[in-house]
């Protein structure tokens, strides 16, 4: 639902790095987004196409890799991956303990880009 401000930040970061590297055209931008985020890939691309008009990033394709949700068991400290839908029934695969703390799954990172 909040793809617009996130996309503005992506563009800002991309243009900064494009400028620093003397880039003439950005082709591909690779992002890592945690599975806990509800961003829709299609909308990010649409907003990006709109916002990047007239910049070196115009026409760039966004490739979004989803990072898994990782929880840590409160009892035995084992970390384990879990799907979004299973989180509140989370059971530790190590000791069978219920629940745990969130370790990761909220990432929002511009990883790299391909440029000319």
């Amino acid at each position: 639902m909040h793809e617009l401000p996130v996309t503005e930040s992506i563009l800002k970061i991309v243009l900064k790095h494009a400028g620093a590297n003397g880039v003439r055209r950005v082709r591909t931008i690779r992002l890592t987004v945690g599975r806990l985020s509800d961003l829709e890939d299609e909308w990010i691309q649409r907003y990006f196409d709109y916002l990047s008009k007239g910049t070196v990033a115009e026409g760039a394709r966004l490739e979004i890799e989803r990072a898994p949700i990782v929880m840590q068991c409160g009892a035995c400290r084992v970390s384990y991956e879990i799907e979004l839908a299973d989180m509140s029934g989370a059971t530790c695969p190590g000791c069978g303990g219920k629940g745990g703390s969130l370790v990761s799954g909220r990432e929002y990172t511009v990883r790299e880009m391909e440029a000319e």
Partner: protein, 223 residues
């Protein structure tokens, strides 16, 4: 491929600007002895009612201010200001959440340095506000009985990052199949350190627990 294609390593957090500003705001307010509390929930679960109960329950023992966020109305801030509490309405203009820049603008309109507690009433929504750091020291959320005990299954992020959950409208429990024990189990599985309170803003039941929590948390910001 006519042009030479290069791979440029970026490795930059998309929300780093917001997160950096949020950290700075938290530090500035904390060292001035002001606690910033971010209150989140669905629309209609009782955020404004809880704030009005808070004003009453604190009875002037803490100096408070309120930042109201709404897509496009001022009714909430008017209700709060009518009780003599400094309040500012932020119209998010369609945005689904508050970020730290909007909160900072709201704080400028309040005598923040002279307040012990500033409550942000975030936009009514269990999804987006969870993803943006507002600069608050504490995050609290309300889930009301009519919304159902299955909400942690649908919105795990919100439940996993709050310090406190207030179950509101407990006066509706007898008319509902809301399972409080099942809710507690689901929430604690997501977030073992969360505190859970039960209250009714309509009857006033459980409000003392909320007031106690606020006083305790706000006092940790006083030297």
């Amino acid at each position: 491929m006519s042009e030479k294609v290069r791979l440029i390593e970026v490795k930059e957090e998309i929300l780093s600007d917001n997160n950096r500003l949020a950290g700075a705001l938290r530090e500035r307010l904390g060292s001035a002895g002001t606690m910033l509390l971010n209150l989140m929930s669905s629309p209609g679960s009782g955020k404004t009612s809880l704030i009005l109960r808070t004003i009453e329950g604190l009875g002037g023992s803490l100096r408070i201010g309120v930042i109201e966020a709404d897509i496009d109305s001022t009714v909430d801030a008017e209700k709060v200001a009518s009780r003599g509490i400094p309040a500012v309405q932020l119209r998010t203009g369609g945005f689904c959440h508050l970020d730290v820049a909007m909160v900072a603008r709201g704080l400028e309109a309040l005598p923040a340095d002279r307040l012990d507690l500033v409550i942000i009433e975030n936009v009514g929504n269990l999804v987006c506000p969870a993803e943006f750091d507002t600069g608050a020291h504490r995050n609290a959320m309300i889930l009301s009985v009519p919304e159902g005990d299955d909400k942690p299954l649908k919105y795990p992020l919100m439940f996993s990052l709050c310090d406190l959950l207030v179950i509101n409208k407990i006066d509706y429990l007898s008319m509902s199949d809301f399972d409080t024990a099942a809710l507690r189990e689901r929430v604690l599985a997501l977030n073992p350190r969360i505190e859970i309170l039960e209250a009714s803003c309509r009857t006033g039941a459980g409000i003392d627990g909320w007031i106690h929590w606020l006083r305790r948390e706000a006092s940790s910001f006083k030297a």
